[in-house]
Amino acid sequence: MWWLVLGIVIGALGFWLVSWAKAHKVAVQWYEWLLGVIAIGLGALALQNYYAFLREMEPQAAMVMLALLGIPALALAIIAVGLAWWQNTKKVAGAPKKS
């Protein structure tokens, strides 16, 4: 059930993100999408392991798993968003000025 809810939330957020990008004419490269998907996957795993280890009464294991999976997830998400932002900023900055 938890996974179903998470899937719906991620789906809704993804839909909003794509709609927003299209509305604002933000171009996103294929590898930026890929990095984002991997980040979401790792993040979901980090959350599952964190809460499951807490249910197992193993708080140290929960923190270790949150760090092991959560930090790479966060790093990949930052890289994906950063790359997209940088490329779109560069494109806007390099566009010819209106006369």
Partner: protein
């Protein structure tokens, strides 16, 4: 190159991602409804990473193996192996330690711990080799005994036994050249276990007779509380072992009544660890693999389970041994040996054909232990220790995704075993000084936990988690 998805394309991919996240646990846990394994082998739900095999992962030389006298283990012959003087000294030390610790309120040995330990050992059913005489048999009802195929019988028994408290269930067919050698030659009370061509079982002062027609052994596990085991080696931890044995005595009696009610005999353990070699029969029945502990490690509960058995003349489809990469992992891991306070367990990388003393039976390639060191430590702490079980990376509660990932990886290849051991050290580091008998978790914290499952056991472990 810009990668701008159309809305339709994106929604399609998004749906796949959502479905993937939603269904991921199912894919990894990989539970099967029934594994009939091409040879009509009825199995309880087993995790998908467990594969069956015609031979166990522990090598056996059936020609060398002989039926064993149970009382030759340190359970029955400890004074002979260490000498009477040392035995007496250890008995005195045990009495003094337990007396001092209860007065000092040492965590795990306080009055409440000792009281619960004692209480958990009470209330069990009578334990007998012979079946009950007062069962409502088909004869008494005026009907014929139950009839069905060995597969039907195995399925029926598994369902009944699960409901009465068994964790996992397997079946071994006795063969005089092989598996029959796992039935003891002599029981713990030194009575001869004689297999004879007679119609009915019997027992007198000198021997117990198993009829030759009783060719099947029912083997089952009863899990212990993993959380309680974390308080090893204290009296509180010992309580969960005691509770399992108590539970099984009642379980065995019920199973004997069930078999008698069907019109068949159920020959049980006359006392704890009687009748046959539990880890060996568990291995042959596919309930787990032998390990560095020289005990059974199960896929469902790791080593945190006890193994029991019963001989019957009800024809049963045998279950096959398993390979889940456990024995292979043990060759690399060695965590149990490191945490053993008495250093009784083997540190060798490969198992050996040579036992380390007369307390072990030869004929199988195992990580033999120095059982006298183990047993001497039991006396010092006044319990049955259990630190090696607690240290085992497989003795987990299996709710986190990591466990499924580790199990699948261990089963697939030994390449990552040392890395997985390293991760286990981070998530289950254990006490700084295990040689001092420090537990993994403070027993006083256990007494504040009111949210443990009934009997401290997650009974759905190994079953579908969706």
């Amino acid at each position: 190159m810009a990668f701008n998805l159309t809305r339709r394309e994106f929604l399609k991919d998004l749906g796949l991602l959502g479905a993937g996240i939603t269904l991921a646990p199912a894919a990894v846990s990989g539970n099967t409804i029934f594994d009939w394994d091409n040879e009509k082998t009825p199995q309880l739900h087993r995790p998908g990473w467990v594969s069956t095999s015609s031979v166990p992962t522990m090598e056996i030389d059936w020609d060398k193996m002989q039926r064993w006298r149970e009382w030759r283990t340190t359970r029955g012959s400890f004074p002979e192996y260490v000498g009477k003087e040392r035995d007496d000294r250890l008995t005195k030390l045990q009495t003094e330690n337990l007396d001092r610790w209860v007065k000092q309120n040492k965590p795990g040995y306080t009055l409440k711990d000792r009281a619960l330990q004692n209480a958990a050992g009470q209330g069990s059913g009578a334990q007998s080799f012979l079946p009950p005489k007062d069962a409502t048999t088909p004869d008494k009802l005026g009907v014929a005994p139950w009839k069905g195929s060995p597969e039907d019988a195995a399925l029926m028994l598994t369902a009944a036994m699960r409901h009465m408290g068994a964790g996992t269930v397997g079946f071994v067919e006795l063969d005089s050249r092989t598996t029959e050698k796992l039935i003891y030659a002599e029981d713990p009370d030194k009575k001869v276990m004689s297999i004879e061509d007679v119609a009915n079982p019997s027992e007198d002062d000198k021997k117990r007779v198993i009829p030759k027609k009783a060719r099947w052994v029912i083997v089952w596990t009863i899990p212990m509380s993993q959380e309680t085991m974390k308080t090893a080696p204290t009296a509180l931890c010992s309580m969960t072992t005691g509770l399992t044995y108590t539970t099984n005595r009642s379980f065995q009696l019920r199973l004997q009544y069930f078999l008698a009610g069907l019109g068949y005999m159920g020959l049980g353990e006359n006392s704890t660890n009687a009748l046959g070699i539990s880890p060996a029969l568990g291995t042959m029945a596919g309930l787990g693999e032998m390990s560095r502990l020289n005990r059974l490690i199960t896929p469902e509960w790791g080593p945190i389970a006890r193994v029991f058995k019963m001989v019957t003349d009800l024809p049963l489809a045998p279950t096959k041994p398993i390979n889940a990469g456990i024995m292979q992992f043990c060759k690399v891991c060695k965590k149990c040996a490191e945490f053993c306070p008495s250093k009784a367990l083997s540190f060798d990388t490969e198992p050996s054909w040579e036992p380390r003393g007369p307390w072990s039976n030869p004929g199988h390639k195992a990580f033999f232990e120095d059982s006298t060191k183990c047993r001497a430590y039991w006396r010092q702490v006044g319990t049955n220790c259990g630190l090696c079980f607690t240290a085992c990376p497989f003795g987990t509660k299996n709710q986190a995704f990591f466990h499924a990932f580790r199990n699948a990886l261990t089963s697939a290849t030994p390449v990552f075993d040392s890395a997985l051991r390293a991760v286990d050290d981070w998530i289950n580091p254990g006490p700084a000084n295990p040689e001092l008998g420090d537990p993994f978790k403070n027993p006083e914290d256990w007494w504040k936990r009111t949210d443990l499952p009934i009997y401290g056991i997650n009974t759905s472990s190994g079953l579908s988690t969706i």
